[in-house]
């Protein structure tokens, strides 16, 4: 073995080196890696340094987001939507009794302290529309559902057709996204576990392939959970995040022209933007 010549290390040196490696690795693991990645913090050092904030919240209560879970996403979504509907009804009741302010823009939820049901039931696109730079709505079949008819079902997929739940009218963020021809892009939000992201987006008419999905925070395996994957010119609904992490859309423009879409969102989230 001429090519291989490890240096002569004395036994003491070897033991010291190995012990040192072991102790240092333990300190790094317990002090930094486990608090940051899993929220496991036996010494409390991780919390003091603020590292546990990086960990997925669910693990702090003992449940880790498992990438091996075999839950039917549709089933999950239906359950979530049911819960959401209840929550929204309650919210609407509360709103009727007492006008509240939502949204970072500081706009009132409604000029009328007691909004009528019809008003609240309007498709979100029609309310609080800020100047939209690219809005060329042609009466194509794709956007007929959003014509100003009250109580029209906006959600187009089988999962969500169950009910056009009256949504609180105010959007927190509105963004215009242009997908270049023959290209795809992602727009994401960080949502904590159990928090709700309510959304509505619509293209300038062209259907676009999209996948609404979420990735658990801190995950490096590339795992993601798909909530909805289809081709459509619009989509709206609410997501109750099944885990803390980045949630959002991947849109793919297979046409030769750019597609512009307008995304409106509301809820407790942090905008991560283009990914």
């Amino acid at each position: 073995m001429t090519e291989y010549s490890p240096p002569e290390t004395s036994l003491t040196k070897l033991i010291i080196a190995s012990l040192f490696a072991f102790i240092l690795a333990t300190v790094i693991l317990i002090g930094a890696v486990l608090p940051s990645e899993f929220g496991i913090d036996p010494t409390g050092v991780g919390k003091k340094m603020g590292l546990t904030a990086l960990a997925p919240q669910s693990t702090e209560s003992g449940q880790a987001p498992s990438d091996k879970e075999v839950v039917d996403p549709c089933e999950d979504l239906v359950k979530e939507l049911d819960q959401l509907k209840m929550a929204q009804k309650e919210a609407l009741e509360r709103e009727k009794n007492k006008p509240i302010f939502i949204g970072s823009s500081g706009k009132k939820t409604t000029p009328n302290p007691t909004p009528s049901i019809e008003e609240a039931a309007l498709p979100p696109e029609l309310q609080n529309s800020p100047p939209q730079p690219i809005k060329t709505i042609q009466p194509t079949p794709a956007n007929i559902p959003s014509t100003p008819l009250p109580k029209v079902t906006v959600a187009p997929t089988p999962i969500k057709t169950s009910a056009p739940t009256p949504l609180p009218p105010q959007w927190k963020d509105t963004i215009s996204i242009t997908i270049p021809p023959r290209n795809g892009l992602e727009y994401k939000f960080h949502v904590e576990k159990g928090e709700i992201l309510t959304y509505s987006w619509k293209t300038n008419g062209s259907p676009v392939f999209f996948e609404f999905h979420g990735e658990p925070r801190g995950d490096t395996t590339g795992y993601f959970k798909s909530f909805k994957k289809t081709t459509d010119s619009q989509s709206s609904g609410s997501l109750t995040a099944p885990f803390a992490g980045s949630h959002g859309w991947y849109w793919q423009n297979d046409t030769t022209n750019p597609i512009t879409l307008q995304l409106k969102t509301r809820g407790k989230y942090r905008v991560l933007g283009y990914q």
Partner: protein, 233 residues
Amino acid sequence: MPMTIRSTIWTFLFSNLFLFIMISAAWSHGVDSNTEHFLKTNQGIAIFPFLYIGAKHMVTGYDHLLFLIGVIFFLFRSRDVLIYVSLFTIGHSLTLFFGVLTHISVNAYLIDAIIGLSIVYKGFDNLGGFQKLLNFQPNTKVAVMIFGLFHGFGLATKLQDFNLSGDSLWINLLAFNIGVEIGQFVSLTFILIALIFWRRYKSYFTFATATNTLLMTAGLVFFGYQLTGFFIG
């Protein structure tokens, strides 16, 4: 080191610099986060995307890089570097193909934990640990090959997370594997540049123990991290 070998190495190093710059430029355009969607939605043959994904996985995978540092730390002849890296390549290519084609996937955390251990092993080996402790030197070539097999299973497991389409699987898999080799080649280039520079100084040998101790440390941290992930997840 004779002049001819040295100049061969430098040619080898600089020819890869361009490739590396090109790849880093591609990253800065945020291609990576679309990768998973590509893998999820792709159908049919896509040679260059798979090449790219494979190369990227290798260049950004610090576990692979740490292991390679350990392997070539005491390899001073370019011929030996070539032999050992080829053994590693054969090892991981075998299990990558075998794993994906037979749909065998090992738990990603467990396989990563073993990859962590492979770094610890190599660090300990470089310290002369086995000779000192067991009076026996495990065959280093066989060890590299075996750990190559584990690294390949890791790649296969990750690739299987995305439901790859059946029709063009072979070609895409081959492209991925070639990408892995390109990525390994490129990252190895930079590891070699750093090591060759450092080897010109005495400190390389003075700090050899410290470097391999830190290598063991990094391997242990990675091992503990993945094992915790396995038990929690």
